[in-house]
């Protein structure tokens, strides 16, 4: 608190730019450092990208509805599935998890914000602008078309002369910066800003999974960055990393990409596991079964996630020894994953299960994740993978894990936390109706794809022949998009309606267990009027039902005034946005080899960093207890 007080006040005038103060209007959103606002921005942005990726998927399914259709050309088709995959992984599902982490990690650990609020804003803006950068490719000569894992040498200048691949490489390069800084921010926050009494082993599992994920990001993104950099160098400066004619080894890209790419899958799924581990206990009214085992298995999955990358490369001719090794490590991941499933079932066992929308989504997650996990074990068998790899069987598998798994889990989270985010309650009936469309549609789309794959349909083909037995599976699959699309549109309409005219939700509509439910809905800018104290796991539940909690530890904090000097709210800042914008524009400079522009933007980056460093944290203090109305200091 002393830190905040020292830099409040006159330091605002020392910066290059006038420090913004407004709490409404566009400028207030561009300059916000509030983790809740940034969390909402993350969710809305990733939701937008989710919609774009869904539209791309819809066109793909229309093209494949019947054999030998020419609705889109092979060229456009390649762009569509590349952008669909890239968007879903990098711009939609992963940032949706980051959005939840941004909004709820501080609330769940009883903190007032992330450790570095301006860095948090920077992380968001560089992600959003990185995504925008990639999407401008549609208007600037064509989107990337080499698949979301962009295998070399398909990406070399001679094989792919347009700018599409540059958009991919530079866009991911830019977006990756945001992912990395946000991961570091979350680690520091979780390690150093937990409420009094909240030991590591009292943290909500969602927070644990975010922590594990953040560490994964720090180890997984550097290999990707190196690989992207190599290709940017190849394409822009004529180096020869991936030029076979000069002796380049294309397989290197696959290793580097998947050393990142497989952990990336767990970077997406572990926060989803975390959400499920919050939703199931709440709606079963029981603590999570086997809390330490759940955390350990999460850590184990994360660790092993770095030891399985070559199972994406079983058909590249690594030889039987390497294939055996990577097959066995992949099988081993099935064990902690199975343990997690058992523990979720164990949580429900003996509970009092309420089938509200979040819980129904969580159960659908369980169902589909088990199916996706089983096909995952099948694909970890290299001989079967030799048949199924690069076919629609794989497409079905990873959609069950990423869509039916991660996305449904995040939907569970969205419905679970919607009352907290907005203070409004949605219509459970409407949401359940939307759920059934989404769930049935999803399975209509992806279950038949297993069979299309086994019948010999490769992925990434723009069309297929009649007479191979593929027609019915593709037709059902395409029909499913209409069903699922209806469900998704209903969900969006339901959210909009609830946001506008939903009933007040109250602070704790689900009788939940963790600290975010102890404050008002939506939470005040400073999150908690009074510093929460954790006396047990499920800290809020322990406070509500002290008789059922473990012990009344935490008495040592009784009577301690944690907010004696008021609550410091950091000042808003233009610099994170400005810095991101400069990197964004500089990206075009590098891509078009427009060096004056790139250098100019480099100067802006340096200047923004300077301004950022010297403007100080700024801000002001609020004293919620001493003022009559909540959040009076805002």
């Amino acid at each position: 608190m002393a830190i905040g007080r020292r830099s409040t006040g006159s330091s605002a005038d020392a910066g290059l730019l006038q420090r913004p103060h407004g709490s409404s209007g566009i400028a207030s959103w561009l300059t916000t450092v509030d983790h809740k606002r940034l969390g909402i921005l993350y969710m809305l942005t990733s939701g937008t990208f989710l919609a774009l990726a869904s539209i791309e998927a819809f066109v793909i399914r229309l093209q494949l509805a019947a054999p030998n259709q020419q609705l889109v050309s092979p060229d456009v088709y390649n762009q569509l599935f590349t952008m669909h995959g890239l968007t879903m992984v990098f711009l939609a599902i992963m940032p949706l998890g980051t959005g939840f982490a941004n909004y709820f990690v501080p609330l769940m650990i009883g903190a007032r914000d992330l450790a570095f609020p301006r860095l948090n804003a920077f992380g968001y803006w560089i992600y959003a602008l990185g995504g925008l950068f990639v999407y401008t490719s549609f208007f600037l000569g064509g989107a990337p078309d080499a698949g979301w894992f962009a295998y070399a040498p398909l990406t070399s200048l001679s094989n792919n002369p347009g700018n599409g691949i540059d958009f991919y490489m530079i866009g991911l390069f830019i977006g990756g910066i945001g992912t990395l800084v946000t991961a570091m921010n979350l680690i520091v926050t979780i390690f150093s800003m937990r409420a009094p009494g909240m030991t590591m082993m009292r943290m909500p599992v969602f927070v644990w999974m975010v922590l594990v994920t953040a560490f994964m990001i720090i180890f997984a993104f550097p290999p990707l960055t190196i690989a992207l950099f190599q290709v940017i160098m190849d394409r822009t400066f004529g180096t020869l990393f991936y030029v076979p004619a000069a002796g380049g080894l294309p397989i290197l890209w696959q290793h580097l990409f998947w050393i990142f790419g497989h952990p990336e899958v767990y970077i997406i799924i572990l926060p989803a596991f975390g959400v499920i581990s919050e939703v199931i206990p709440t709606f079963s009214r029981k603590p999570l079964f086997g809390y330490p085992v759940m955390i350990l298995s999460g850590i184990f999955i994360a660790f092993m996630g770095f030891a399985v990358w070559s199972h994406h490369m079983f058909t590249t001719g690594l030889g039987p020894v390497a294939n055996t090794a990577f097959s066995l490590t992949s099988f081993v991941i099935g064990i902690p994953t199975g343990v997690k499933i058992f523990n979720w079932l164990g949580t429900m066992w003996g509970g009092s299960i309420r089938f509200a929308t979040p819980m129904v989504y969580a159960l659908a997650f369980l169902f589909m994740f088990v199916i996706g996990g089983i096909t995952g074990i099948m694909l970890a068998m290299p001989p079967f993978d030799a048949q199924a790899n690069s076919t629609y069987f794989v497409v079905a598998h990873f959609h069950y894990v990423m869509g039916g798994g991660a996305l449904f889990a995040f939907f569970a989270g969205l419905y679970y936390w919607f009352p907290k985010l907005t203070g409004k309650m949605f219509s459970d009936r409407w949401a359940l109706a939307s759920f059934w469309f989404t769930f049935v549609g999803f399975n209509m789309i992806f279950m038949p794809q297993h069979f299309a794959g086994l019948l010999g349909m490769p992925r990434r083909v723009q069309t297929y022949d009649a007479g191979l037995g593929l027609e019915i599976w593709n037709l059902v699959s395409t029909a499913g998009t209409f069903v699922m699309g209806t469900g998704l549109i209903m969900a969006v309409l339901g959210f909009i309606h609830a946001f506008r005219s939903g009933q007040p939700a109250g602070d704790d509509p689900w009788d939940a267990r963790t600290l975010e439910w102890s404050t008002s809905s939506p939470p005040p800018h400073h999150n908690f009027d009074e510093q929460p104290i954790a006396t047990d796991r499920d800290a809020w539940w322990a406070k509500k039902y002290p008789d059922l909690a473990h012990a009344d530890e935490g008495s040592e904090y009784e009577g301690v005034d944690f907010d004696a000097g008021g609550i410091h709210m950091p000042g808003q800042s233009w610099y994170p946005f400005l810095l991101s914008l400069a990197v964004f524009i500089g990206g075009y400079g590098v891509m078009y080899a427009n060096w004056p522009l790139a250098i100019l933007m480099g100067v802006v980056v340096v200047a923004s960093t300077y301004g950022w460093a010297f403007e100080g944290v700024g801000g002001h203090h609020v004293h919620p207890r001493s003022s009559a109305q909540e959040g009076a200091g805002d």
């Binding site: 020419q70 398909l154 001719g317 369980l366 030799a386 279950m447 083909v461 191979l468």
Partner: protein, 368 residues
Amino acid sequence: MPMTQWLRRAAFLAGGMLLLAGCEFTGLQSTLDPAGPIAQAQLDLLVWSYQLSWIVMIATFGVMAYVLIRFRRRRNDPDRIPPQFHGSAPLEIGLTIVPVLIVIAVAVPTVRTIFATETRVAPEAGDVIVNVTGYQWWWRFEYPELGVVTANELHIPAGRRVILNLDSADVLHSFWVPRLAGKRDLIPNQNNQLWIEAPDPGMYYGQCAELCLGAHAYMKFRVIAETDAEFEAWVDTFQTVDSRAVQGDPEVQRGYQLFTSKGCANCHAVQGYRDGAPIGTPDFPNLTNFGLRNTLAAGVLPNDRENLEAWLRDPQAIKPGNYMPQLWQENDPNADEEIAAVASYLLSLGTQSSPEAQASLGGSHGDR
């Protein structure tokens, strides 16, 4: 073991009835209809894991259904707070052992099959060796010991092991004949190997299974397994080939000339087209004995006069994205006549130019 067999059948039937009701799985490109030892071993592994997966699913979803019904929140007691138990170490350990056992049950046959199907083999007497090169968007098949170069149709003798040396001339491709063997990638600068064996004569469908842009979806091929005698005869047609047009058929003669004058010969090699300087380059499909081919445009269409003429007229309409230029403008008054002549010439290759070889093939060489 009748018991295990019965179990297998029951498991397959149960699965079949639930999911696969009424559907045919013996497609031309189906991994579920194996015709060679590798594809069979790969399918066996799938079947084994599929049976195990039904046990897992029935157990998991059974418990889940039980829990959801038994422990649902009751209307008459909505506020009940169940006992807040946190876990049970013996149960956790027990439940960890279950997935360990399942994993072991899958891993043992997996490792065995990996070494049986993926170990690099040394050629032995009786093996046929083929150098396979992937191009955007066709396949070059070279038989180094037999002096044969052809494209998109791989002839092999049934019952003999065929060793494929896989290479790519441009980007990544993947050699996949589902009924014979799972795929293996073609990677520039990487010497990959795959062996296949077809016990019975027949035609097996293959397709490129690694994105190579452009006409990737149309990069197909066929593997044609023949009896030893048929295979030898096919090889002979290459060794005795004379691709000069048969005298006495003016249309074929005209096609022969157009083949050079329209520029076909700039890219496409045809063995024995003329004495001295050979035509074409190795980087485009070799058309020697083209008349014997079952398909054209890399397995896209059956090779008959109508399709061939359509292909020559507008290659992009048949195989979008491919590199074959359109040689006749739409308003070219001579187009019909010239296209027919070139088609006649191409179809004559291997069927008319070398009557002896034609006779030894014993007539039709159609779809088996």
